[in-house]
């Protein structure tokens, strides 16, 4: 690794924390309403961040083009979020405030996020709920007709708004519908089944993108004044995750290869309550809301050779490891603590199920105390989902659960304006690194995606565009576009011409095993070094033994997959390098070498209170690390303890 310069300016405005955003909105340049139509903005991705940004930019008068590889913008994976969306409305009168949401988010992120961004997020959170209610999102209501809230993920206030267990779906449909209105108005042009495969640069600025139509194979160029990447997270580098099958890092990674810094790739979140893999062919993992931990008790048999059914294991031979180790929080410890402890017992051979790869989540006591009906009312849909997937009835035998990758806090580095290190390229939602630090709180992903798309980016993008008034988008005949198209074409050709023996799926699965093994819930120097060399050799094998059959001018998912896996190889290696470099534990990043006597994550604020932003130099050259120092003026740094 080589150390680059410190990042001098993240554009955080001066002044008191509570005034920064308002001051900034006043200070940045505006584009006159009549001039907005002279600018074209390309939005890649149609999830919460992309759809809300496109809708709002269209309403403001910009010309917007939206690109998604899905057959419809409504398929984006935001749709799968279950739990809810946080907002500092204080509708419960329980002492919530913008400052408290801000404080909880910085602390929950284990003090590795940028204070000013988080404060702005908490500020605009209240507007999101108003906006979504106005869009007709059917949030849960009380009998009096007002909005219902619940407490989520261990928060001490009830600030989570929800729509049954489908909050992500309802919010995405709200944003999608708002965007479709702009399509109807002619302000937004929608390109479905178009996958962005390159960013087009000229004179150090972004001028457009190159896409491949996944149903016809046609490669096309699109020119604009600015590019917004709202392309989600990279959790599928683990192969097995709760992400959708097509979720990928490709758009963000291709921007990284063109100069956008990639920040904190080692910050990945593992969710503790997922259904364990059942066999080698498992293609994804299903998350079950962590609200289950409110009533379920987590345990494994003390004897690793115990083959009895759960109900036959006497109380004295059960190891309620969370309750024993953390008497005050018990089964409700934060996600990372619950996940790591599950790994520890499974690694000790205490796991349950046919593959001994899970732990019990037992509702027998709760059913005994509250009755089956009450439990069914609370969790009926989750129990049904579990039954459907596993064929086991969780009312009569404990669930088996195990952690799975769920969310990635790392992503493209952005400044306070959400602009990446490439002028003209913005990143929004999970695709950027900005707001969650080293760990994201429950119900905050939806909040951030919509905050970026609705209330931040539409303001800040004007600051970049205003001076460009009068400039036409770069001609598609420009050599920069021609070269980028040729590069995309040649990569597709390369995949088809290797003619090896293994499918892209095979390489993805093998890569995922390496990443999960060495860059998963617990990381150490040996494992990370091993990961780097093993990922490299598997990558070499990929480029010499890949088999992509069929034609390039038709729907051919092997081509799409090959491109995504190629990028995951490079990202996986960078994750290992970042994890190796960060010799501390924080949030979702746990270095075995850095823990307290109690086995908790031990931060090293003196040496690592910074963002690591990595600069690309080529597939075979190590990236340069640029550090952005984090300062904490409002929130006091403390060591977390859940004993």
């Amino acid at each position: 690794m080589s150390l680059g310069t410190t990042i001098p300016d993240s554009k955080v405005p001066q002044g008191p924390m509570a005034d920064k955003w308002d001051n900034h909105k006043f200070d940045i340049k505006l584009v006159n309403p009549a001039n907005k139509k002279k600018f074209k903005i390309l939005v890649v991705g149609s999830g919460l961040a992309g759809a809300s940004a496109a809708a709002t930019l269209g309403e403001l008068g910009y010309n917007v083009e939206v690109f998604t590889f899905h057959d419809s913008p409504r398929r984006a994976h935001s749709i799968a979020a279950q739990g809810g969306i946080n907002a500092a409305k204080n509708y419960r009168n329980d002492g919530d405030s913008v400052h408290r949401l801000f404080y909880d988010t910085v602390k929950g992120g284990d003090y590795r996020s940028r204070e000013a961004n988080v404060h702005r997020l908490a500020q605009v959170s209240v507007d999101i709920i108003d906006q979504m209610a106005a869009q007709g999102v059917p949030f849960a209501r009380e009998y009096g007709g007002l909005l219902d809230n619940r407490s989520f993920g261990g928060a001490q206030v009830s600030r989570t708004f929800y729509a049954r267990g489908q909050t992500g779906q309802q919010l995405l449909l709200g944003a999608y519908q708002q965007m479709m209105r702009q399509v109807h108005e002619g302000k937004v042009t929608l390109h479905t089944r178009m996958e962005m495969l390159d960013l087009v640069m000229k004179d150090g600025e972004a001028h457009g993108i190159v896409c491949r139509n996944v149903t016809t194979g046609e490669i096309s160029s699109h020119s604009g004044h600015a590019v917004v990447l709202a392309t989600g997270g990279y959790g599928n580098v683990f192969y097995l995750s709760t992400n959708a099958m097509a979720s990928n890092v490709t758009a963000a990674w291709r921007a990284h290869r063109k100069g956008a810094y990639f920040a904190n790739p080692c910050y990945t979140q593992i969710h503790p309550t997922c259904i364990p893999a059942s066999d080698e062919f498992q293609s994804k993992l299903t998350l079950m809301s962590e609200s289950l931990r409110n009533d379920g008790r987590i345990w494994v048999p003390r004897n690793p050779d115990d083959t009895r059914a759960a109900a036959d294991v006497p109380e004295s031979e059960r190891y309620y490891y969370l309750e024993e180790k953390y008497p005050s929080f018990g089964n409700l410890v934060p996600r990372d603590v619950a996940s790591r402890n599950a790994k520890t017992v499974v690694d000790q051979g205490l796991g349950v199920g046919p593959l001994k790869n899970g732990v019990y989540l037992d509702f027998a006591d709760a059913i005994g105390a509250d009755g089956k009906d009450t439990i069914e009312e609370r969790y009926g849909n989750l129990f049904q989902m579990y039954d459907r997937i596993t064929g086991e009835d969780p009312y009569s035998r404990p669930m088996r659960i195990y952690p799975a990758t769920h969310y990635t806090m790392g992503g493209l580095w952005v400044d306070y304006n959400l602009m990446t290190s490439i002028p003209g390229v913005y990143a929004a939602g999970e695709a950027n690194f900005s707001d969650h630090g080293a760990n994201r709180l429950g119900a905050s992903a939806l909040m951030q995606g919509l905050a970026d798309g609705y209330f931040v980016l539409p303001y800040t993008i004007g600051d970049y565009l205003a001076p460009k008034l009068g400039e036409d988008p770069l001609s598609l005949d420009d050599p920069a576009f021609i070269q980028a198209e040729a590069d995309v074409q040649s990569q597709v050709h390369r995949f088809m011409s290797i003619k090896g023996t293994r499918s892209p799926e095979y390489f993805h699965r093998e890569l995922g095993k390496l990443v999960w093994e060495h860059i998963g819930m617990a990381r150490d120097q040996n494992g990370l070094e091993k990961a780097i060399s093993e990922i490299r050799s598997l990558r070499d094998e990929f480029w010499s033994d890949l088999r992509v059959l069929g034609d390039a001018d038709t729907l051919n998912s092997s081509i799409e997959k090959a491109g995504r896996v190629a990028d995951f190889f490079e990202l996986g290696e960078l994750m290992a390098r970042d994890a190796l470099d960060r010799e501390e534990s924080c949030g979702g990043h746990f270095r075995v070498e850095s823990q307290t006597e109690e086995g908790e994550a031990l931060r090293d604020d003196e040496n690592f209170a910074h963002v690591s932003a990595w600069e690309w130099h080529g597939a075979d050259t190590a990236q340069t690390k640029h550090a952005e120092e984090l300062t904490f003026d409002e929130v006091k740094l403390t060591q977390r303890s859940y004993k």
């Binding site: 419809s72 749709i79 499918s503």
Partner: protein
Amino acid sequence: MSRILNLTLSIWRQPGPNSPGQFVTYPANGIPDDASFLEMLDIVNEGLIEAGEIPIEFPHDCREGICGTCGVMINGRAHGQEKGTATCQLHMRKFNDGDTIVIEPWRATAFPIVRDLVVDRSPLDKIVEAGGYVSAPTGTAPDANETPIPKEVADSAMDAAACIGCGACVAACPNSAGQLFTSAKLWHLNSLPQGQAERFRRTEAMVETMEDFFGSCTNHGECSEACPKEIEQDFIAYMNRDYMKSKVYNRKLAGQN
């Protein structure tokens, strides 16, 4: 313990939108019954690739029943025989060793085949584009609690809004009608206070766009039967009522009972 299934698949293969298609028979052996239906297809595809044959294209993404991407006809039924279940949530333990399974793409003129089991469902987006929204530009919203909504109303709107846009209703309908999809979106928005201002304009625009692409409803009810979210047919009646009202000349009075 999980069983291992040996199956025979009869799958519609079609290289492109304008090429002729045909059923091709594939053995699917050694399928663990814990696998999902789509994982069974993954296994078959891995085998095809190994044998140097072009894998089967099938629609899928989230694999947890919410994105609405997946959906094929399984033994003649949209999403297969399990009620309230999307294809991705169907598991192989629901099948028996030795079964023959016929797998086809959604059957509807409005959904042309892209390749193999993948169809183009963009007409559904066209219906939404025609009016499936509330015109509330960003930044204009009043405080969310200024408009109380009775819980029963919000719950009913949510029942309709649960639609995942998979198109099974159209595929299951003998007329390839789009009524269930359209009416679910209409009821979601038309039943809420926020949706009242545009209620009749929306209804008219969406229904008429729907009719540009889809067949007519003759109350077979196959749509609700096939729907993975069990959306009720009642919404179609509400839609018809609102559509009639939307044609009333004095539209400003149409909102009255």
